[in-house]
Symmetry: D3
């Protein structure tokens, strides 16, 4: 099944990421078919950010699910009865490349025939199925953070759904805009989509460096099928990935170990020996206030 978008596990975004990635790897006659290549490749790049975003959300939500001392009876008894107990045994409090039934993502979910019309048809169908599934997920989850995440992904997935339909139109002349919205429920009906719509996130595609994907605009333009607003290429390059929190250690599942202080001490000594400054250079994780970000809402909702 092509669209098995089994969010909130990360398999849904895995499918979009890997489909567009391999379609871009396999793209023949790139220069001649340039704007189409740019379209597929730039969306692939954004989807990598989405697998990180989903994983971050899972990691954040699982923080605290297994509190306690390592090796203590009962630390994990709270999750003994959940659907996917194996997740906790194999992955502790981290994301795995599987859906909520523990079925791993697999490479047969990638469709890459090489035929541009057909691959765009597939991608439009993939995004349509993804939107269907995310709407159901939205109806299912109650946690404000999960709803916030769904709202964000609905908006961005909606842009990709439009982008592939528009590309098909440009290539064949067929008018596909009347297929929107599919499913036939307006995106702006979802409250959690509103903040992103107000920022115009439903209208933009991104580039990832000043030099790349300069020809997106040749395909991605014209009116948005639901709102009539003009589709655009973002002036700014895409913000880097999803901001990740520095998630606290979970010693009961040995992440990053049953004695995280010991690891921190070793790290400090190694850094000192290498002549690095006392404070870590740069940040690989922010301090977690996450003002205004999607994940900020995830965290805010949890505390």
């Amino acid at each position: 099944m092509p669209v098995v978008r089994r969010f909130p596990e990360s398999t849904g975004e895995m499918s979009t990421f890997m489909n567009y990635t391999y379609q871009s790897f396999n793209f023949r006659s790139r220069q001649q078919a340039r704007p189409f290549y740019d379209l597929v490749a730039s969306i692939a790049a954004e989807e990598f950010g989405h697998i990180e975003l989903v994983a971050t959300a899972i990691n954040t939500m699982l923080t605290g699910a297994a509190d306690g001392e390592p090796g203590e009876v009962g630390d994990l008894s709270a999750v003994k009865g959940v659907r996917n107990t194996q997740h906790f045994i194999a992955g502790g409090a981290g994301a795995l490349v599987q859906d909520s039934n523990a079925k791993p993502w697999n490479g047969d979910y990638v469709f890459a025939s090489g035929d541009l019309v057909e691959d765009l048809t597939h991608n439009f169908f993939l995004e349509t199925g993804a939107r269907n599934n995310k709407l159901k997920v939205y109806e299912m989850v109650e946690h404000p953070a999960a709803r916030a995440l769904t709202g964000y992904l609905l908006v961005r997935g909606g842009v990709h759904q439009v982008a592939y339909a528009r590309a098909l139109e440009r290539l064949t002349g067929a008018d596909l805009m009347k297929l929107f919205p599919s499913p036939r429920i307006p995106t702006d009906k979802i409250p959690e989509c509103q903040p992103h719509i107000q920022r115009g996130e439903h209208l933009k595609l991104y580039r990832f460096s000043p030099d790349d994907y300069q020809e997106l605009a040749a395909v991605f333009n014209g009116p948005h099928p639901e709102t009539g607003e003009e589709l655009t290429i973002a002036e700014q390059i895409h913000p880097e990935g999803a901001p990740a929190f520095d998630l606290p250690a979970q010693p009961a599942v040995f992440a990053p170990g049953p004695d995280p202080e010991m690891i921190a001490e070793v790290a400090a000594k190694l850094r000192s020996a290498a002549g690095l400054p006392e404070q870590p250079t740069g940040v690989v994780a922010n301090d977690g206030d996450g003002n205004g970000s999607v994940i900020g809402k995830v965290k805010d909702a949890l505390t």
Copy 2:
């Protein structure tokens, strides 16, 4: 099986890419365990380049495998008897996310326990198995391009194998260097590894922007277990991905379509309408001379 490095299909590099990617996503206490996070995350980034490199090699090698007019009897008769005929039916002349037996890569190949000692142990084992498999592939393939690619990946995989062993040493104090080489055959015995060894590629880890992974050097240092030379962090950031050729159309497998000129014409019109210059801006594919590059050798060998 963790290391199923079924190169020249892309599943081997898929395993290293996805393992390190999810381990970095799930990494807890990043700032405190900083140099270790940088190590896993930077190698993940390099491995993304490797899945592109392998896909490019496959795409290059398949060019011409299905020459002819679309819809002509016999165009694909040359591949009717090969092991994985389905590859040509599903993927045409492009790479798929499967091994040479058509078995798709799947998410259970990802090991991400969250325990740093254990994940590093896994990664050392994964790279060891990968080296074993690549050595056998080297013994098996005859095409100079395939051997060149294997040689390059053996050298870079060897660096990652050392990196994870060294990280384990730094963390636990256990001396693992005597495990090298594993398998117990020196890398420099392979002629196709020589050019890369001479450029010092067996000694370096890379960063991917001026700002990232600044603390790699706290872990990745000391003598190389086989040569005694000092391990270093490359001064230059990593060259961008693998240089991709602008692979010619293969109309017989409809890539990018049975009539590629028609697609090119549409693209030209769209570009013109968008006010883009006549020549495509920037390059998404080089012109294929590939001087000195690994893939250049792939192509040279084929022509």
Copy 3:
């Protein structure tokens, strides 16, 4: 992968058969959405005939592949080296529910969301992928019988591709006809499609009894996107399934047993004891001349 149409094994037709069957089982508000229900259900019925047709072709082609006496060394040595030796060990000279790589068809290939717009979108995509794959198969096979079968299935699959696109048009107003042909190669370019096009098989949908599917015409009408001819509902009900030959026994693979005469004798005695006439009543298999039929050509080509 949704369309894994791995013909000449029967998985391709299995996917279309099972998708439309379960979509019809799950169809809600059938009476109100009547013409659409009739469309999906009637195509499902035709696809059952196609899995029989493909199985019959396989059975016919395998006849003689394992000649000889049961238990004699060498009877199957001719197939020891083929790609799917297991086929002969598990299935003898018969069709199995797997592709040519021995990968079984599975239920995840069925997409049945319940959303009519989305399921029709899927079905259009499924038929598009199926057409792509069958065109490649056509380019690959050399046997006149295999080409004849492909030609027939291309024509009928093409009708289904149009039917789902037209249904989407009727439901949403989007003009999809400019997507045809997809892949962009005219069906009538294939010589083996000609006889069926000349009989108008590229224009008709069928009903299966005088009473069923009477409302097909409300959706399936208008001009054919490639030829401009009017789409119609066949006046005659669909001919019953595919005419099956009475395939000869293959004692070396024990089908229907190593001693088929013994089985025939038992059958004769049982029939006699039950008061049945000496000649079997009716026919469950024709005599194999197959005048004019697709499979007739399969057999003719083999003898």
Copy 4:
């Protein structure tokens, strides 16, 4: 595993349906082995009705499981915690081709060696396992509708179990009747089997048109192993499939869409344009009173 009869999902009946279907497709020397061919083929035809029956039961039972407005938070919160949440995300309120653990049915469950003695041995074993599993399901379910369905399938499955054993007897002379009942618990102990036993459903095989399968009686005769009553061929042809209800729309899962009235309106216009009468011709779904039918009981129990 051959008998994985994971009812109330439809994989159990899928296995019997597909096994007998492919055995009949692959049957060699049909005319000579005629009564045996008729036996396998006619039971295959009945099993198609059973996959529809099981799907209908699932669809009926899921009606109302996801009530509410499309896109409303909470519509699906009631099923967030069930074992197979993915079922609701992928299939909404409809049946999928998988068991209750979301494991899809696959083609390796089909056994079709071509050897008549062996295939009959398999089929007897398959039906035995199916009876075992259905008895456990009977002990497990509490809903009267589910028990009614199980009772019906136990009776019909019991007939098939006897049929294959009797065919083996006729072919080999081995007396298999002492193996009944297997498991060794009399069918008439189950109250829900009684109505069907009283109608003689435990004794009959069916034909599906006046012309087909006329030779069944040559094999299927003699005393029933549990009751001693004479096995017979039904004088009437089999009632058509399972009567399906016109299941109400479920807008919250977009089946047939979030706005079913819109679809009904489009359908009405298309019908009118095609000159069809105001009321739909014929019925593709009954009005749901289901007097006396198995599914009638399913529905009655739910209302």
Copy 5:
């Protein structure tokens, strides 16, 4: 994933059993590499005992889960809502070769490259992952019997982890002892490990007959990395497998049948006819007091 030790289902021990078994089957130059062969082969033999031990624990724990009369409504209603209902439908009250998500063990979990250094590296990693998973299982389960079983397997698995690390040391000179404990939590912190540690079970490898594996001591020696005590080869050969209880019949799941007395009667008659003594010769199951044994504790805890 290599170590998917999904205890308390039996797949974890299946992985260790089958890995070492096939590594011993495939071992080349056994006599020359003798102590290493003995190590792998003797641990394989112990692991067979562990799959029996885990199966016995599952069988014991499931006793009573489905009490009642065969064919009675409600007998299995208590397990209708559990995660793996299919277990009860397919396996009744017995162990199956799958994990708690119903995912079957498969042969790709076996790693057997033939390269001794690499296979030992794998085995050390496999045991490390197994220890991680068992520690989490320990934190999860509450039943004293399950904790007792986990404690025993932690101790024995710990010996195997040391054994493979020591063998690598002996072969390469690399000092691996500083990797212990991994995960970094001392085994003797777990109360349920204490009885086995006090009996010295954390220090011994076993032989299985007076003649076999005489050369183990050449590799398995030196100090234990956690306690400093000397590793030894047990003077006594390994006690035979796990003592199995004569588990009572479970007629509601037809094990060994819905009427176990009938089976017992037939057995008695057959034994008498064969001239066997009235009391069964020897014991295939003990009487269940299980004094002092691990399983004894399992049973004690349940009664």
Copy 6:
């Protein structure tokens, strides 16, 4: 599919081994149902010997398939084009737990319902399918060693087929002997079965120690269905496993390493340090002349 006996890969014997093993683990009321328990458990024990036998045959046959120096181009070029190239990359010259299409054995092939009548029915069917598949393998292979191995396994599998049918007869009274032979071709028609028939191997079940399985004779007795000779329990206990050769190193696939002498030297030093005699104690592998043994023929045929 239950019987997927994909010999000469080891999955066929894996299925019989694991089915009977888990049926014996899960056997309830063992003492009361004693002779039946002994039957299943003793055949399980013999089947373990068969997986070793098949693995040994594979290892022997692969010896020399990859001759050459480690790391030399071309060493494995001879197997680049074979069906299962991955076998050589993953397993070198050793057996893996997969069939010839690289499909791994999996736990769903185990049928263990707990119902004795049903499990015996399954086992009879499993052995019947296994006999069918082995007969086809016999017709396929040409190598005298492969034919010799097939002949041996046909004879022993035939005994197990009879044993399960006889057990069913004893338990139910049904006369199953007329089902033999199945497939209906006499075993003694196969020349390679003759030596084993002449030694009476077609008539005997074995015990594995002087104490075990003493009650086999209560079930396994009476005339052999094909020859009329009396079935017996062997007076001698079963010869230990399959005699394994000390297979030579294969340095080109790094088994046991690229430099086997180095491993032998380390082993010699370790043995000396442990006070072991200069010559290895006992034998873990014979010297390979294999007089009269099945595997002896395998090796003889290869040299």
